[in-house]
Amino acid sequence: MDPMTLTVTTGSPLVKRGLAEMLKGGVIMDVVTPDQARIAEDAGAVAVMALERVPADIRAQGGVARMSDPDLIAEIIEAVSIPVMAKARIGHFVEAQVLQHLKVDYIDESEVLSPADYAHHIDKHAFTVPFVCGATNLGEALRRIAEGAAMIRSKGEAGTGDVSEATKHIRTIRHEIAVLKATYASSPDELYVAAKELQAPYDLVREVAESGTLPVVLFTAGGVATPADAALMMQLGADGVFVGSGIFKSGDPTRRAAAIVKATALFSDPAAIAEASRGLGEAMVGISVADLPAPHRLAERGW
């Protein structure tokens, strides 16, 4: 074989999932300017999410939230050397086409933006760029993976600074995986009905039941505001965390960002988490999810 002749395969599931594997143990930070992106990179973020408004502002200002201006995304890609992600509306495959054209490293098909389609998500197999999608439970995660998602993030309730929904969603996903695994061990014939109840493809349900894990990386998101919040998510079994409004809506974003990165890396070491938590100034004020009327809960978007 001519040593210069190479078989090169881009956009395969392994390549798409592979980048997510390299983000594990890391923190992905929402940024709205190139300066914020540089602060995130300096603090040790593994990637940044480029957007025009953080979820807390989307929530406060209301209106329709859409894909960010391509100029902003291009400036942020230019500003940093770490991977850059950007959000498309649920079902808005043309926003996704634009983001792929802009050469973002990952697309987040996100409930934080206003949905463009109340029935269908994007066919993510049709793209070379990988996608991350939100999920509140295992069935939702598996539907997204069936559509081609290469990474899942539990949704939490974005823009609140209240970690309770993130806790609920990661616990739910982990619990449902454990139940499937137990079902597979005792009565594998019950997986057919389990797939029906999860509203997810049988083959994926069986794969999860056999392996006891999702077939892609699972991050968590929504309401993480402190180093201890991030470590909580990691101890609950997340592979990494997204921090949205929690950093740049706090008193000292530079220090808080670095502290959350450290606590995520040494998530099982209370001394290290305590050290990281010292003297960070004000956390984002936030709003309690319990005070949010149902129509304002972003996690309920996605089907």
């Binding site: 392994l14 594990k24 143990g25």
Partner: protein, 249 residues
């Protein structure tokens, strides 16, 4: 060469997170007993004799961030014990060195560098490798090993134990990430390039193990091997077997 179960296996390791318990088990050297769904690798279960002859070597896998579990699994399949390295005590205890070899995994090199320095692990790790502990760095691991990092993130440092200059993200953004069949001096290898670096200059002591096009993508200098790609994502055991067979420099 690349059986399909490998693809589904990738995430399986990733999200095998009874997280914390699992990590503790690994630190204590117990296998988590996770079901193996992947086709058997050539040489699976080979016991690799240490130069000193005391059985399976213990490989320290740097575990501050990145694709750690894929390396752990591959090393265990090849018969090695693994420990996770985060803080200086993981490298060296009162009873002496705790690792016979090291793996620096892929991940975000600028993040791993910052964490190494903030946890005080940078210098002990540099010293261990400079003192001759056989080491394999993949992707970000290659960047960490390098003497010079071109287009480094602001303030980013590297260990300087491999006489090469590397460029980060030299093959382009994620859209250009790819699975590649590569000819190496160790044999053919199916590997994944993920936002991969490339060696742009190599010192006289550095042996080139593989090129992609004209670009150098795998090198060795003494007991230190650096590759720009991910053999662990495709389950390619070539470089890990070589690591386990490498004597202390």
């Amino acid at each position: 060469m690349n059986p399909t179960p490998v693809t589904s296996g990738v995430g399986a390791v990733a999200s095998d997170a009874l997280g914390f318990t699992k990590v503790a088990d690994l630190i204590r050297g117990r296998s988590g007993g996770r079901p193996q769904r992947r086709a058997a690798l050539p040489g699976q279960g080979d016991g690799v004799e240490l130069p000193g002859g005391r059985g399976s070597p213990t490989v320290g896998v740097l575990a501050l961030q990145g694709g750690v579990q894929e390396h752990v699994r591959l090393l265990q399949e090849l018969g090695a014990r693994t420990v996770l390295v985060r803080v200086p005590a993981d490298l060296e205890g009162a009873d002496g060195p705790r690792v016979d070899a090291l793996v620096l995994p892929g991940g975000e090199s600028s993040t791993i560098d910052r964490l190494l320095r903030s946890f005080g692990t940078f210098e002990p790790l540099r010293r261990a490798i400079a003192d001759g502990v056989p080491t394999l760095g993949t992707c970000a691991g290659l960047v960490l090993l390098a003497r010079e990092v071109l287009d480094a993130a602001p303030g980013q440092r590297s260990l300087g134990v491999l006489d090469v200059a590397v460029r980060r993200n030299a093959f382009g953004p994620q859209l250009d990430s790819a699975e590649v069949d590569l000819a190496t001096t160790l044999g053919p290898a199916r590997v994944a390039f993920i936002r991969a670096p490339r060696v742009e200059a190599a010192g006289p002591q550095v042996e080139v193990l593989a090129r992609r096009g004209q670009g150098i993508v795998a090198v060795r200098q003494g007991a230190v091997t650096g590759v720009a790609f991910h053999p662990e994502l495709t389950g390619e055991p070539l470089f890990h077997r070589r690591l386990l067979a490498t004597r202390r420099g």
